[in-house]
Symmetry: C2
DNA sequence: GGGTATTTGTCCGTATGTATT
DNA sequence: AAATACATACGGACAAATACC
């Protein structure tokens, strides 16, 4: 009997959930009932529940009880849409109902910053160089979907792309705008995908659990112009619990028939 | 003073870590010392530490103490290498030192299974249809890197691709083999990326913390032949704490200069 | 709105087990 | 073997959130 009691309790409850005995959304027995059932202390039962919470199987609501989590219908985003250069450096959404995506972006929050290590590396400039930062929050059907920040070399503004420092959406897209004003043609981009813990801002914006057990995708998209120089870095952040991504390579039948189902 | 004490303690420690006052790898003060320092109970201090561990900032070692985690040097994998069809459906590694990758694969574990919902959906066959499952574990320089399972329709074996059910590596790659024996030419693939909690097998193989706070990437690669039919599904699993992925779109300078640095 | 019962959240103190040095 | 440090487990008390009457 070397496995701790709270793990055994958690394993028992997990089995009930995965067997379907406890259904998604259903309320579980209260901590007191579980304490009696397993002949343990309430704190031990709470340890078991805590374990299930970090794995994402259950969720607790103060004053109400503990519930089996419902599967969230995930948002699926295609990372390499075919018209490479057109949609801007923005990551657009290919959600279930493509027509009614209802993607809403806040007005960009524009700042002049000194390039951090990360930004400097991706933009291939010296650390501390001034860059324009344009930050936006996006919601899909009212639920928070992404936080994204684009970085441009400050040079671009001096050379005439003054709209970059205006706190307004750039109509026709930033790609088009830079091509028109600076003859900077975007010919490709590279996405860098990682997962990390959310910071306080992200936790609050996405409504993630405060204990940080739900990670976020951080996708750094570096766009290049025709001479091979990076012209923009866009860092987008998405919660991992409701987002998936797709990459298409080669000739594929039709991009539609992907409906993600998994137990 | 509405924020709980254990959160305040965690916030204080977090600030010390992020300011560099506590360096990566360094041992923190013991629970007893922290209890005295913050005039709290040991359990409360433990709650604070537990919070920091779920965020991945610290790690506890029984009998030794609590330590600030060291940043793991991440493995970077390119999802869309240019010779699309050649490297097989396998996801190959583009780690820091490309020459000495030292990727070691175990002998495949071959099984005949009935297609699960997920497999059936991706392979576009009926649920319960028999499929060949080939499972492999991979290590890079001795550390566990990925678990991957490929699924092929059982048809392929009946039609002559009998090596699929042999528990040996298919030399020259499965793509080449299927092209040679069945005239099945792979013309592209689609990667589906998501993050979920690891199961017991994955936790043990990767040596992940038992509480499941480190998620895993699950990348489902569906390969298509020239008539647009799926010919293989490969599901690969990677821990999120030591893996990153790259997607290249359009014309890029050279794929080398990506060295990921982030605070 | 108020009051009460229910349920989870926080915090304490204590005891004992287990891993490491 | 002994000391140290974290892990598990218990029990109790009060706070905070929610639901219901």
């Amino acid at each position: 009997m070397s496995t701790p009691m709270y793990r055994q309790i958690a394993e028992d409850l997990r089995a009930q959930i995965e067997s379907g005995e406890l259904k998604p959304g259903q309320q579980m027995r209260t901590e007191i009932e579980l304490r009696d059932h397993y002949a343990a202390s309430r704190n031990t039962v709470r340890d078991a529940i805590k374990l299930l919470t970090t794995v994402g199987l259950v969720e607790t609501r103060p004053g109400q009880g503990t519930f089996v989590v419902k599967k969230i219908n995930p948002s699926v985003t295609i990372l390499n849409t075919d018209p490479l250069t057109s949609p801007g450096g923005d990551i657009t959404n290919g959600i279930g109902d493509p027509e009614e995506s209802e993607v809403v972006s806040t007005a960009p929050q524009v700042e002049i910053q000194q390039a951090s290590d990360n930004v400097a590396t991706h933009l291939n400039i010296a650390r501390g160089t001034e860059v324009v930062s344009r930050h936006q929050a996006r919601t899909v059907k009212g639920i928070p979907w992404s936080l994204q920040t684009s970085f441009y070399p400050m040079d671009f503004v001096f050379k005439g792309a003054t709209k970059l420092i205006e706190a307004q959406d750039i109509r026709a897209g930033a790609v088009r705008y830079l091509a028109d004003t600076l003859q900077l043609r975007q010919v490709g981009y590279r996405d860098h995908i990682l997962v990390r813990a959310p910071d306080a801002t992200e936790t609050s914006f996405f409504g993630l659990p405060a204990d940080g057990r739900v990670g976020v995708f951080e996708i750094s998209r570096t766009a290049y112009e025709e001479n091979g120089w990076p012209m923009r870095l866009t860092v987008s952040v998405f919660p991992t619990d409701r987002n998936q991504f797709v990459v298409n390579v080669g000739e594929l039948p039709d991009t539609s028939g992907v409906d993600p189902r998994f137990a």
